[in-house]
């Protein structure tokens, strides 16, 4: 019933866009009304404007802005109209400022196209992030753009702040890379970024680059809202890390929270609050089912009531902790329990935090978010290679085993690629290990940016990588990996004013014909060996007559 038809979603999205666009004007009018509020009937107009904002903002995804407008609305009747009313005036002024801030932050919930229409545009998962480069040095700008493109970003170059402004008006980029010094002035970059922020309805992350590593430049960059500051010459692997950090926010969103609470209404309230903050939730009213749900839902955190029928939250936590797989899973209790003794006891047997009811929405969201993020980070550290952030050897094998059996169950093809950087030892010997690490990281970046959603990349060891390509026939895998090979070879590394590039070789095997994970790995390894023997910098496929 509540399924969203694609055209409906796009219509709603259009309406949301319009609301966002008109919001600044609307707030301006409210401000103006406020300034004349003591004049005659202006109070009623002001009230009506604020009231309608309170009623509509949430519908367009601005929940907090709506709440804030509501708060202001509640204060208005108390205005006596006399200027003696300093307290309420002050509070409303503050509230109006808050409205501006919340508007600038953009909607908390962006209307999404419905599931079916997302599926039909398979490219949307692979949407390339758009980076604007503001740099007056034309050759440096072009070079930067080219490097960004190698790593799967779309980059557009602008040589002046005016050109940048015009472009942002057309399309807002995912991030801005700006030189601090421009012909317009020695802090023209930060100035341009600050101007953009003022007019923008959504945050544009900014990374500054500067030829001078001076306190003044850095301060200017910070004041203009720069997320990061890099000195020239640009270290690209550092830049890529920064870009990942500033636009990779979607990785951290959507924490999965399991709410265990026997009071249905309360559970739904907590779930709604957390979902408004961008998390996913699952509600469980019966603690006896918790282990079943954990296995399927794999939450990042459990929010649990202490007093429930059947068993207490503390007992449930102990049962959860009996399972080694859940040793680190954060458990946060919610209770009206005030006695410190009881709270400590609850924590002693396996809880991580204790939140007291009633709890404000902000407090709940913050407490849950911090713990869930920490859990994600730790899990990532344990499962991933520390240099590249790709899966490590052990987790690659686990994933491959799962993918192979899934492919067989669904009778769909699967390709597996072993990939090795050519003559890597000589890179290390010639340029040193830090440069070698940069090469490894850049290949990892390339893999994670260029592969499709669902593909899995891992660092197999040393300079060796592995890629799992579900639903991919060996010929298609060849096209994909050979493309990557060309892109990787085109990346140039700078070291001591010397430039060099590196290549890789790859071997591909698939299932069918292989049916077992071990056989698949061996076949890919053989194919890799063949590519190396044939002169490197090439991709080869397993052959039937090998043996």
């Amino acid at each position: 019933m509540s399924d969203v038809k694609p055209d409906k979603a796009s219509k709603l999205r259009a309406l949301q866009q319009r609301f966002i666009k008109e919001l600044p004007d609307r707030l301006d009018v409210i401000e103006q009304q406020w300034r004349t509020v003591n004049v005659a009937d202006a109070k009623n107009d002001f009230l009506r404007l604020v009231h309608s904002l309170a009623g509509s903002a949430g519908t367009f995804g601005f929940f907090r802005l709506g709440d804030q407008a509501r708060e202001i609305e509640m204060m208005i009747p108390q205005l006596s109209g006399s200027s003696a009313d300093a307290g309420s005036n002050e509070a409303i002024e503050q509230g109006l400022l808050k409205l501006q801030e919340l508007a600038a932050q953009g909607p908390e919930k962006v209307v999404q196209a419905s599931k079916s229409s997302v599926d039909s545009e398979s490219t949307s998962d692979n949407r390339q992030a758009l980076i604007y480069v503001l740099e007056d040095d034309i050759s440096l700008a072009e070079d930067t753009a080219r490097q960004l493109q190698h790593f799967g970003y779309r980059a557009e170059v602008f040589h002046s702040a005016d050109a940048l402004h015009a472009a942002v008006a057309r399309q807002v980029p995912d991030a801005l890379l700006a030189d601090v010094h421009l012909p317009e002035g020695e802090d023209a970059g930060p100035q341009a970024a600050a101007d953009l922020r003022k007019g923008a309805t959504q945050e544009i992350p900014v990374i500054f680059i500067s030829g001078l590593d001076s306190w003044k430049d850095r301060l200017n960059a910070v004041r203009a809202g720069g997320q990061s500051y890099l000195s020239k010459p640009i270290n690209f692997s550092l830049l890529l890390d920064e870009l990942e950090a500033v636009i990779g926010y979607e990785h951290e969103a959507h924490y999965r929270i399991l709410v265990v609470e026997d009071t249905v209404l309360l559970a739904e309230h907590y779930a709604a609050v957390l979902e408004t903050a961008g998390m996913q939730t699952e509600i469980l009213n019966d603690p006896a089912k918790i282990l079943d749900v954990l296995a399927v839902y794999r939450p990042d955190l459990i929010l649990m009531d202490i007093y429930m029928p059947g068993c207490t939250g503390v007992e449930a936590a102990q049962v959860i902790r009996q399972h080694p797989a859940y040793t680190n899973l954060p458990i946060v209790y919610l209770s009206t329990e005030k006695a410190l003794e009881q709270q400590l006891e609850a924590l002693r047997v396996g809880g991580d935090d204790f939140l007291q009811k009633p709890i404000s929405d902000t407090h709940l969201v913050t407490a849950v978010r911090i713990r869930a993020r920490r859990f994600r980070e730790l899990t990532a550290l344990m499962n991933r290679d520390s240099l590249t952030g790709l899966l490590n050897h052990i987790n690659l094998k686990l994933s491959l085993e799962r993918e192979v059996s899934q492919a067989q169950r669904r009778c769909s093809p699967l390709s597996f690629v072993m990939l090795d950087i050519d003559l890597f030892k000589s890179v290390n010997d010639t340029y040193g290990h830090p440069v070698g690490d940069r090469v490894i990281k850049s290949l990892a970046h390339l893999l994670s940016k260029r592969l499709r959603k669902g593909d899995i990349a891992a660092r197999y060891g040393g300079e060796e990588f592995a890629v799992i390509l579900p639903d991919t026939r060996v010929e298609d895998a060849y096209t994909l990996i050979d493309d990557l090979r060309k892109q990787f070879a085109a990346i140039s590394y700078a070291h001591d004013s010397e430039e060099f590039s590196v290549t890789f070789s790859a071997g591909i095997a698939s299932c069918p014909p292989n049916t077992e994970m071990e056989g698949l790995i061996a076949a890919a390894d053989n194919a890799l060996y063949k590519a190396k023997n044939a002169g490197r910098n090439q991709v080869s496929m397993e052959t039937d007559e090998s043996g």
């Binding site: 709603l12 309608s52 309170a54 509509s56 903002a57 949430g58 519908t59 929940f63 709506g66």
Partner: protein, 123 residues
């Protein structure tokens, strides 16, 4: 989904009106939108809607006044009415119910579930 439900819809705010219109129109509702209580009164003579859906706070004639004026028309005397308002306080809800409203939908409403919400009230 049953028969089409005709709605006399009164809301002064253009963007909200638009959201509600498209949120309901695919769901088996046919709306006669009005931007003010006065427009509703002008149009209502010729209408026999299944439902009156109206905003509480509007410039000029507010929602409760509009409803009581509409109720003076014989064909609308018993038509189910639902208020939509940003300010839902228990005392107010009671007051609207006493005026013969079927229920109150609080704003901001979720466009994805508005149709279901109304249908639930009508059941």
């Amino acid at each position: 989904m049953g028969d089409v439900i005709s709605v006399l819809y009164i809301e002064d705010e253009a963007d909200i009106r638009e959201v509600a219109e498209f949120a309901l129109e695919d769901e088996g509702f046919v709306l006669t939108p009005c931007v003010s209580g006065q427009e509703a009164l002008d149009k209502a003579e010729a209408l026999t809607p299944d439902l009156i859906l109206l905003d509480v706070m509007m410039p000029g004639m507010d929602g409760p006044t509009t409803l009581s004026r509409l109720r003076e028309l014989p064909q609308l005397a018993d038509t189910p009415a639902i208020f939509m308002t940003a300010k839902v306080q228990a005392s107010e809800v009671g007051q609207y119910m006493a005026m013969g409203a079927l229920g109150v939908i609080s704003k901001p409403f979720d466009p994805m579930t508005l149709a279901d919400e109304i249908r639930t009230l009508l059941e």
